[in-house]
């Protein structure tokens, strides 16, 4: 059984495959209010990022991003060595490290550990990896009640909804939906006041923390030479998750490793600024194994589940740089396409936005997500935002290349480009074709005298559905040049 089959087709993050995006795009484009909502939130975050990063790093900002990217790239290029080193040092620190090749195996390991320890109630802090492997429903199916404790994730869990942003999971929900969910599920008095809503959640969850016997978290960084697990959170639920329950399980992808503890500042300085325009997250928790004998609190046992689940497949390709990602969400906030469709779970997977458009097809197969590499204007805003300098547009193009090479692209498209290329390789043919095209376009524009085409056939029709297309003027630049110079090159 794989992640993809245990779900009915209504789960927007684990849809039926192959996933075609058209319906979601239409739905998202139809909800103007949601678009504006998401647009406002992401634009504000993006501006905040630019401001705080410029403020801190001034003209060094780009160089810092490159530097962080270099450290991560080095780690990935030697990941076999660093994973081995991490396993050894984390084990020395007293943690138990398990290796999971797939999502299914990762779920299985966690459930086995939880069952062996007779865990009944799990408190969970926010983790994209656990979303990726769809852990919570598996835990619940095994009789382990699991509570998302990050406020956004908690609300989403109450509403049986799905996160739509890797940092701001409920960017698509407003306070009214929170108010309704709390009234319905927690039986509290209806209020739309965010302060009061937060208070309600706080009170509800505090007692759960005390009762829970299992804490599950992700990790933002793993330190190879010390075996440390680093968690960056703002609410404090991460800290409590690893403080009150007697057992702690960490789910983490192998790409989260960095070589040494002294590398950590580079990433701490970038992560929160890129994600939420804070200089550093409120809580940066560094865990070195479970509670020591003399310590007052903390879990007796700590298990770290290292996840592959397609990461080695990415490592193998020229998309390796994608694994530098520190999940800051900056590329989502910067992306004009995400701003339009992101609120509607249009990316059909756990990872959305530019990062998702690349890694989802890589992890789950291009044939399963043939549209994602194409839903981008390649504007490059993501590349400029990325704190680890991942050339996302180039990676999108490379996926398009792979689709051409493995013939996932429809034949008609391939033929059209072939024909176009044939023309472009022959200057005389190119000039002739340009002339003919210009003639045809001018003829089409004649019907309305404006010099514009307002209804075109074929692909031009998609263009003219919403905007006019210009008719070329009767003289091209080349015509002018030939008159200007009498046909000479110089």
């Amino acid at each position: 059984m794989t992640v993809d089959t245990i779900h009915d087709k209504h789960d927007p993050l684990h849809p039926q495959l192959p996933y075609r995006i058209a319906d979601s795009v239409n739905r998202a484009m139809g909800d103007v209010q949601l678009q504006q909502f998401v647009n406002a939130a992401t634009t504000a975050r993006d501006r905040g990022r630019v401001e705080t990063c410029r403020d801190a790093f001034a003209e060094r900002y780009d160089a810092v991003r490159r530097h962080a990217g270099d450290i991560k790239q080095h780690t990935l290029d030697h990941l076999d060595i660093y994973v081995e080193q991490f396993i050894d040092s984390a084990t020395t620190a007293g943690a138990q490290v398990h290796c999971a090749a797939s999502a299914e195996e990762a779920r299985h390991i966690g459930i086995e550990i939880a069952k062996a320890n007779e865990c009944k109630l799990c408190v969970k802090s926010k983790s994209m990896v656990t979303e990726e492997i769809d852990l919570v429903s598996a835990l619940e199916d095994s009789g382990i009640k699991t509570l998302e404790t990050d406020l956004g994730e908690f609300i989403i869990q109450l509403d049986n909804d799905a996160p739509s942003h890797i940092v701001m999971p409920m960017i698509h929900k407003d306070r009214r939906s929170v108010a309704r969910a709390f009234e319905r599920e927690l039986k509290t008095k209806y209020t739309e006041d965010p302060q009061q809503l937060t208070q309600i959640a706080r009170e509800y969850m505090r007692h759960k923390f005390a009762q829970a016997d299992l804490g599950i978290s992700g990790a933002n960084f793993l330190i190879a030479d010390t075996g440390d697990v680093v968690l960056c959170t703002n609410e404090g639920n991460g800290g409590l998750t690893v403080s009150t329950p007697r057992l702690h399980i960490v789910y983490v992808g192998i790409e989260k490793i960095i070589p040494r503890l002294d590398h950590l500042p580079v990433f701490l300085k970038l992560l929160a600024r890129s994600a939420t325009s804070q200089p550093i997250t409120v809580y940066t928790t560094i865990l070195t194994g479970p509670k020591r004998e003399l310590e007052i609190d903390g879990p007796k046992h700590m298990h770290i589940i290292l996840l592959d689940n397609g990461r080695t497949d990415i490592l193998r390709t020229d998309a390796r740089e994608m694994l530098r990602c520190i999940r800051c969400g900056a590329c989502l906030n910067a992306c004009p396409v995400y701003r339009k469709v992101g609120g509607g779970h249009a990316y059909g997977a756990v990872y959305s936005g530019p990062i998702g458009a690349v890694i989802t097809p890589l992890m789950k197969g291009l044939h399963n997500y043939p549209d994602l590499p194409h839903v981008s204007s390649l504007c490059g805003a993501c590349f400029e935002a990325c704190p680890v300098h991942i050339d996302i547009p180039r990676q999108l193009i490379n996926l398009r290349r792979d689709m051409v090479t493995n013939r996932t692209m429809p034949l008609s498209g391939r033929l059209a480009y072939k024909l176009w290329a044939i023309v472009l390789k022959r200057p005389l043919l190119y000039r002739l074709a340009s002339r003919i095209m210009a003639l045809i376009l001018r003829r089409m524009a004649q019907s309305n005298d404006s010099g514009w085409i307002n209804k075109g056939p074929g692909p031009l029709g998609a263009w003219t559905a919403e905007r006019d297309f210009p008719a070329p003027p009767s003289n091209s630049f080349r015509d002018w040049w030939n008159r200007h110079t009498g046909g000479q090159e110089r």
């Binding site: 975050r45 801190a56 790093f57 160089a63 810092v64 530097h67 450290i71 080095h74 990941l79 076999d80 994973v83 081995e84 398990h98 290796c99 090749a101 299985h108 390991i109 086995e112 550990i113 062996a116 320890n117 007779e118 956004g152 701001m168 999971p169 407003d174 306070r175 929170v178 965010p194 959640a201 706080r202 969850m205 505090r206 609410e235 404090g236 800290g239 409590l240 690893v242 403080s243 009150t244 590398h263 950590l264 500042p265 701490l268 939420t276 200089p279 409120v282 940066t284 928790t285 560094i286 865990l287 194994g289 509670k291 020591r292 310590e295 007052i296 609190d297 903390g298 046992h301 497949d313």
Partner: protein, 241 residues
């Protein structure tokens, strides 16, 4: 695969470690036993350092900590009682947990609380686990503090509980000026030197009160952790003392 018994001591759940590593090597085209031949990139301080060691560190620390939403108080050692008393009174705290590794400071604070008549909760008692969520305030010292960001750094240990600075709604942190470092770089270069106890399991950098902006991006403090963090900066460096 071994089936774990009642404790969680199963070693080999999931994929065998060698198989797992071999897959990574396969993806990289690397051989088992290879070593790193290229230099590991060092942190380029000229790019990344944001606070110089010769800045006025206590001043910058206070400034940044305040910007993060924490409240700053300055105290000489003999004024500590009044400061703590003020804060506890202002927030109507009837009981507090102390979680202080520095022995002298611990003794002092204990006396202060006794004088104030504040009930002291013992985090070493068995009832602490449930009690921690009902305590009004947690008072801790710190391992170190950072001028760069205004963060305080606290490790857990035999005298400091994780819960004491996370569970109560109010956290009072005692920072000595000699503990203030310039940059994150300076701390992580020698984290262990700053630990109050060697071989501990958890260190946290705290940079403000607990925060969330999950509901419509509106900033709310005090969602899970303390909504209020007061820092008392104790000058232990001035010559005049």
């Amino acid at each position: 695969m071994t089936t774990p018994t009642h404790t969680s001591q199963a070693r080999h759940l999931g994929t065998d470690r060698e198989v797992f590593l071999a897959k990574i090597r396969g993806a990289l085209g690397a051989k088992k036993g290879r070593t790193i031949t290229e230099p590991v990139p060092d942190v380029d301080e000229s790019l990344v350092r944001l606070c110089q060691t010769d800045e006025d560190l206590p001043a910058r620390f206070a400034d940044r900590a305040q910007a993060l939403g924490m409240q700053i108080h300055h105290a000489k050692v003999n004024e500590l009682g009044a400061q703590i008393g003020n804060i506890l009174e202002k927030h109507n705290c009837k009981e507090a947990v102390t979680s202080i590794a520095h022995q002298l400071l611990n003794k002092q604070v204990t006396e202060i609380l006794r004088d104030l008549g504040t009930a002291m909760i013992d985090h070493k008692s068995t009832s602490w686990h449930d009690q921690q969520f009902d305590v009004d305030a947690g008072i801790t010292d710190v391992d170190a503090a950072l001028a760069e960001t205004g963060s305080i750094i606290i490790s857990s240990g035999a005298h400091r509980s994780r819960g004491s600075y996370l569970a109560p709604p109010l956290h009072i942190a005692l920072v000595r000026t000699s503990q203030i470092l310039a940059d994150l770089i300076d701390y992580f270069d020698c984290k262990n030197d700053w630990l109050d106890e060697p071989n501990q399991s958890a260190t946290v950098l705290i940079s403000g009160p607990s925060k969330t902006a999950d509901i419509e991006g509106i900033l709310i403090t005090g969602v899970h952790g303390p909504g209020m963090v007061h820092i008392i900066i104790i000058d232990d460096q001035s010559q005049s003392e």
